[in-house]
Symmetry: C2
Amino acid sequence: MSLVVMKFGGTSVGSIERIRNVAKIVEKKKDKGHDVIVAVSAMSGETDRLIGLLKEITPDYSLREYDQLVSTGETACIPLVTQSLLVDGYDAISLTGLQIGMETDIAHSKARILNIRGDRIKQAISEGKIVVVAGFQGYNVETGDITTLGRGGSDTTAVAIAAAVKADVCEIYTDVDGVYTADPRIVKNAKKLDTISHEEMLELASLGAKVLQSRSVELGMNYNVDIMVLSSLEDKPGTLVTSKEDKNMERIVVSGVTSDKNQAKITLLGVKDEPGVAVKIFIGLAEANINVDMIIQNVATEDGKTDISFTVPKTDLIKAKAACEKLGKDAGVQEILSDENISKVSIVGIGMKSHSGVAATMFKVLSDNQINIKMISTSEIKVSCIIEEKFTELAVRVLHSAFITEKQNGQL
Amino acid sequence: MSLVVMKFGGTSVGSIERIRNVAKIVEKKKDKGHDVIVAVSAMSGETDRLIGLLKEITPDYSLREYDQLVSTGETACIPLVTQSLLVDGYDAISLTGLQIGMETDIAHSKARILNIRGDRIKQAISEGKIVVVAGFQGYNVETGDITTLGRGGSDTTAVAIAAAVKADVCEIYTDVDGVYTADPRIVKNAKKLDTISHEEMLELASLGAKVLQSRSVELGMNYNVDIMVLSSLEDKPGTLVTSKEDKNMERIVVSGVTSDKNQAKITLLGVKDEPGVAVKIFIGLAEANINVDMIIQNVATEDGKTDISFTVPKTDLIKAKAACEKLGKDAGVQEILSDENISKVSIVGIGMKSHSGVAATMFKVLSDNQINIKMISTSEIKVSCIIEEKFTELAVRVLHSAFITEKQNGQL
């Protein structure tokens, strides 16, 4: 017998029929003798409906009132899930973020969890109840105000509760059945992973794989919570995100290949090569809330000038260029170039830590396929390359073939 | 400068446009220099929508989960009202029942208020804020569970808050503009009352006048809260429900004439005239949750038998007859008769306390108009008669004419 947190998103609870289906999945788990905590999002469409009402008043709304409003979406969902369990003869209770003691800071609409008291959850579990908890919401102890956790908040709720009550596993039910070695729409023989480390999952999540929100993976890594990604539509094994030692992990060098087309490159020509000049530009961009990803600075020419290239999300390109025009004056920038036709392809694998030559192999594979590399960035467990956008799918396929398919066949 | 509680029902906040209108009414009050607390219901239709979802699962739902669910209707409404005030440049804050410390017992779906801490309201008021409070909802301190106050709960919230914070007046905004001497649809020259006592209003409310819920009037009487009934559609004076001494009050004998068609009469023939027999029947009816209103017992015949007649709500007639058939056996009941074609007409007036002959005048007026009286009940400030249903409107008109119109003209 173990203690399991099960999380269901808005689509899974989008109608009473689907809520009844969620109840069946939960009941099956309970029947196996497990203690169960269920975390749910608002019914799909409900959050947008509520925000729509607020925006009818003003697009520039108070974030405190926004939190008070949108949190009702999750609060309204939990009694419906609970009643579905009750009517099937299972003892259950719904609890809001406040009722479970989900204490956050006061950063409305993107609050950070400070503490989960969890005593009420534990008591209900000890009474044999299935506990149904509202995702996404918390409250601030000092003010008593309701807060929400921002995008992917319900995943974060589920993992945080799992950490607080020391659950054996946190199961995230979604519309895909696990984490794949690549996007199956691009790579037909992409393979579902049985396990993946938190570290790798974090890289994959931040590189564009949309299975889990980075924040919940980060939390899982910090508190050593095993996260199982499963389908709410089919009853089959998912992918376990874990940091427990696994003999298989050592043998796998690359766990996944991923791509991200939401990238644009900006190049600043003729920047003064003096200490602090580049720093000022990037501080300015950060202040404008623009996330800069990769940065390359060329060797300075004899006249003390250099070029700097960096990537930003495509959606921020106009804003970023405007900021550069303002910031560039002091830095002596002569020209600002931009390129939207790029994408980022990455390979991720914890095995890279102990394998040399992985990056070199990646460059060779791309080069062999006439794909030019514009920028490179690496971490201990990741190599990313900026390439021309039109080569994205080809690059993912050849990298998947080289690092994953062939390796399985013992050819690497 | 005074402290005012303003309450708006579901229709008044039924759309963003109407919420904007409510904000304007509140702002006008604030502009006059008053401190303002606003209590609101859920947007019209929202509570029914939520209950509909729950009933899709089962009609026999948990009342705890029902409270958790339906209370979100009010919680979602308060940020919308608050945002409307904020966007107009007024400082405002939304607070749930829990946030204002609305402590209730644990009787889910019909909880009674035990205490209102109110410290958070007072603090916000002292900061110059307009406080927007969710009506209808509270919570239980021991369990932390959300509760709701039952029918008319938002009126009750408003009056209870007014009592807790010692507000100068509690204004109830509704779709009528005050309390009338009779239903204006029946009596064309019915007059709007400037003031009425809590006691009278309580009788009128329980006799079928639907302006205020009895429970909120009772609370107002107990805590000496002045309640002003006003229209949310037109800016004109309403009716003040107060227990403050008023010279005018003494002079008015009858304040209102009211009627109630939701009445049915049951007659039990041949009941044993022994101590405790009738009592058993009425205890049995009470246990079956049937509200018995008037009771008449005839003088016993020589064989020790008597007849008992009583009235019940028309909607409970079938249930009441079934209960009587079961209960009547021991009591020797020979036959059970029922009559649905009856109604109750009543006159209410605090002046009756010091005026004799009011009941006699009522009987004479009805008799002069060939209206037969089937049953009578009286209190210190009320006389009610059961008559044939078809005479209802006639009875209201002639009584209104005799006690109110003619009296105003100095003819009584």
